[in-house]
């Protein structure tokens, strides 16, 4: 049985690109129960099974309809409605950016509009009082019927057509950002983005802005108190931790009634809180150390990201290999954007988070130098002629790492809510790690410092699992003390199983040793771009010091 990989390595393969849009489409039939619409009563003609034309919105049953497009190609599968109107597909891949959100993947599809008979699109085409092919255009009508397309799923499938016209593809999943056009020349542009570009991640604040306020003044003992306005309690968890003025308390909740079960948590000071004081949910909402991947996951869920895109057990495995589960403990009591909070963790612990559009999942990786290579490449068998470029990233070098941490203090040291923000003044511990050899005059001859201010590293992180603070510094120094090289090169489709985040070894005449020999050099792939769909792939990779 033929597979995608069989065709990928075949000489004379036939590439194909298919773009799919999943747009909203009502599962009901016009006028049939539960739809109560009726021509002459609710409208002058039947709807188009989309919300913008719905005549009984209360019974709109949102499903999806998939529209497929491809490039002009005379060798297409038979029996599938695929509109051959794509003029170009530009896939901008995810760029792995150590210590921050990846540069997001996106795709721009250019298409040419065309007249269309509406068969297969409008379920009631045969009832219309006009001839659809003589009225409007495909995309003109599609946009009018679907004014809200943001965040709907789109897929870009690149692959090959077999001799029997069966299509075998790799699927990249994106979310529609916008559809532009058709313009005066009939050109249409569809832009897709990856999950990490959802505006909700930047806009969502954690903890939430307070919406509930104490209805009475409370004293310093555990107590039960109601909040106002009525119903505001529902915006809070049923149990967890609250910040009230400068104090942290634990609570359980039923309706608008909060039972404060413990006062002065984390060595904050129990105090009187006046009626009308806002109550703020704290993140994380329980005490104790938390794995950073658990924090990241909970923040993404708070931003509305579907859990199916988060392969949490794989994240946990990667995280546990390098980062102690006890290394992180904090309390965030002032609302910050989810994006900011996650980026802090990625930088402070030396990790990456990116959208893998091929697996349709968010991937997590600790940027360690210890990973083993999954593929070996060389000039003769893999790297395409004239494609290899090597450059040295001098500006990335560092020789020392200063880490300030311990914002949530432990032991007898007091905490207050206003000092839980990410500020050097609020940290209680500072450690400096220096690669003295690198600062020798025969090497750099100077110091280049990276300073990390962490609200996430726990107060006692230096005591956990062989000093977690030093491990973070060591990871940074191991990666950035030597000369960092970045390579870009192209591969044929036969070698395109290499993906973003993979560790590879390259043997090339452009990576010579002292004596001119070519020894394998280890790199991590930071970008993977399909420049000629189905044929040529361009890679960018960052050196991993031995």
């Amino acid at each position: 049985m033929t597979t995608y990989d069989d065709l990928r390595i075949k000489v004379g393969r036939r590439p194909i690109t298919v773009v799919e849009l999943d747009l909203d489409f009502c599962n009901n039939l016009y006028g049939s129960s539960p739809c109560t619409a009726s021509v002459g009563v609710t409208g002058t003609q039947e709807c188009f099974n989309c919300f913008a034309t719905c005549q009984d919105t209360a019974n709109f049953d949102r499903g999806t309809k998939t529209y497929k497009f491809t490039e002009a190609n005379s060798f297409l599968p038979i029996g599938e409605t695929i509109y051959p109107c794509i003029t170009s597909v530009d896939i901008a891949p995810t760029q792995l950016k150590p210590g921050a959100f990846s540069v997001s993947a996106s795709v721009t599809v250019a298409l040419q509009d065309f007249p269309h008979h509406d068969r297969g699109v409008d379920p009631y085409w045969y009832l219309r009082f006009y001839n659809p092919i003589e009225q409007g255009t495909f995309f003109g009508k599609l946009r009018a019927r679907n004014p809200n397309v943001a965040n709907r799923v789109m897929r870009v499938k690149t692959g090959y057509v077999d001799a029997d016209r069966t299509v075998y593809t790799l699927t990249r999943t994106y979310f529609i950002d916008r559809i532009e056009g058709p313009d005066a020349s009939g050109r249409v542009k569809i832009v897709g983005k990856d999950l990490l570009r959802f505006e909700e991640i930047a806009k969502t604040k954690v903890p939430k802005l307070p919406t509930a306020f104490l209805d009475i003044t409370i004293g310093t003992a555990p107590t039960t108190v109601n909040v106002t306005p009525s119903g505001a309690g529902a915006n809070y968890e049923t149990s967890g931790r609250l910040a009230i003025d400068e104090e942290l308390v634990d609570y359980t909740r039923s309706g608008d009634t909060f039972t404060i079960t413990a006062r002065n948590r984390e060595a904050t000071t129990a105090a009187v809180h006046a009626a009308g004081t806002p109550v703020i949910d704290v993140f994380p909402n329980t005490s104790g150390a938390k794995k950073i991947v658990l924090n990241i996951k909970n923040l993404l869920l708070a931003a509305g990201i579907d859990s199916s895109y988060i392969p949490y057990s794989a994240w946990e495995t990667e995280c546990d290999t390098y980062i102690s589960p006890f290394a992180s403990e904090t309390a965030v009591a002032a609302p910050e954007s989810v994006k900011t909070l996650i980026e802090e963790m990625l930088e402070e612990f030396g990790c990456s988070l990116w959208w893998d559009e091929l697996d349709a999942q968010l991937k997590f990786k600790v940027l360690s130098t210890g990973a083993s290579a999954t593929a070996s490449l060389n000039d003769t068998e893999h790297i395409l002629k004239g494609s290899m470029v090597v450059k040295t990233l001098e500006k990335e070098r560092i020789t020392r790492v200063q880490i300030n941490y311990g914002i949530l203090k432990k032991g007898a040291l007091p905490n207050s809510v206003s000092t839980l923000t990410r500020d050097t003044e609020n940290t209680s511990i500072s450690r400096l790690y220096i690669d003295t050899a690198a600062e020798n005059p025969n090497l750099y001859g100077g110091s280049i410092q990276k300073t990390i201010v962490s609200r996430w590293l726990s107060y006692n992180a230096h005591l956990v699992s062989g000093n977690q603070v030093q491990k973070i510094a060591d990871r940074y120094l191991a990666r950035y003390v030597p000369s960092i090289r970045e390579v870009s090169f192209s591969l044929d489709a036969k070698d395109s199983t290499i993906r973003t985040g993979n560790v590879i070894e390259i043997t090339s005449r452009m990576l010579q040793a002292f004596d001119g020999t070519q020894s394998p050099v280890k790199f991590i792939v930071t970008e993977f771009r399909e420049v000629v769909p189905g044929s040529h792939y361009k890679y960018t990779a960052l050196e991993l010091p031995a």
Partner: protein, 251 residues
């Protein structure tokens, strides 16, 4: 007359009503005569499916053509019948396609108001283009320096060569076939009688073209004018000529 034939007259388009005995509502029978290869007719069930076209008045047909199908994957046969007033009569014996090459079948001209395409399949098939009607026979065939459609393959090749000089792979993007439809030494009378109607069709829609229906009956192309259609010119006294660049599909 030569053996070069064009099939553009389509009685399905002219019918008052076209009905399929079985139809998947997402793939209605109207998809067979919109000349598009990107949408298909599919029956709801396998077995025998009749597509019946009823005309307002009797019309003549002497060709039957189809393209864009997978009948060969579903044990399919296809034939055309005309209604003689009391029964359906086969225009030709049922054809059993073995691949997706365009097929152009000529038969003794018949005139009728009701026509029926009969398709028999062991499983549900897909069919993009059906056409039957009066064929246009050119006065003369193609001339020297002309490329038969199946040999005019238009492809885009992408080669992969390694930095060390090794051949690593190749991709082929099929762009169909390119050739020309040559009308040479056509009499003034023939051009004035037949050419304008064809041009009006070809300006809008594809058509079937068989350069040599006698010598190479299987060399059929489903094609369309690639650019503006040039006007015929007097090349010799009493004769006109024109060359139309066409692009099409042969598989």
């Amino acid at each position: 007359m030569s053996s070069a034939r064009i099939g553009y007259d389509n009685l399905l388009e002219q019918a008052v009503i076209v009905v399929a005995s079985s139809e998947n509502s997402d793939f209605p029978v109207q998809n067979t005569y919109d000349w598009l290869t990107s949408d298909y007719f599919k029956p709801a069930l396998s077995g025998t499916v009749n597509i019946t076209a009823t005309l307002a008045s009797p019309k003549t047909a002497d060709y039957f053509a189809f393209f864009g199908h997978d009948l060969y994957n579903h044990g399919g046969t296809i034939k055309l019948q005309w209604w003689n007033g009391s029964a359906y009569v086969d225009c030709f014996a049922a054809v059993t396609p073995t691949d997706n090459t365009p097929q152009f079948i000529t038969f003794t001209a018949q005139t009728a108001t009701i026509w029926r395409v009969v398709i028999t399949c062991t499983s549900v098939f897909s069919l993009a283009v059906l056409s039957f009607g009066a064929q246009l026979t050119l006065e003369r065939g193609m001339y020297l320096n002309w490329t038969p459609p199946p040999l005019g393959r238009a492809t885009e090749l992408v080669n992969s060569i390694s930095d060390g000089g090794a051949f690593l792979g190749r991709s082929i993007i099929a762009k169909g076939v390119k050739t020309t439809l040559e009308l040479q030494y056509a009499s003034d009378a023939w051009v004035r009688t037949y050419w304008p109607a064809f041009v009006r069709h070809a300006e809008q829609k594809p058509f079937f073209f068989v350069p040599d229906a006698v010598g190479q009956p299987l060399e059929v192309v489903y094609c369309w004018a690639e650019d503006d259609i040039p006007a015929p010119k007097h090349t010799h006294y009493g004769f006109m000529g024109v060359s139309i660049p066409i692009r099409g599909m042969v598989e």
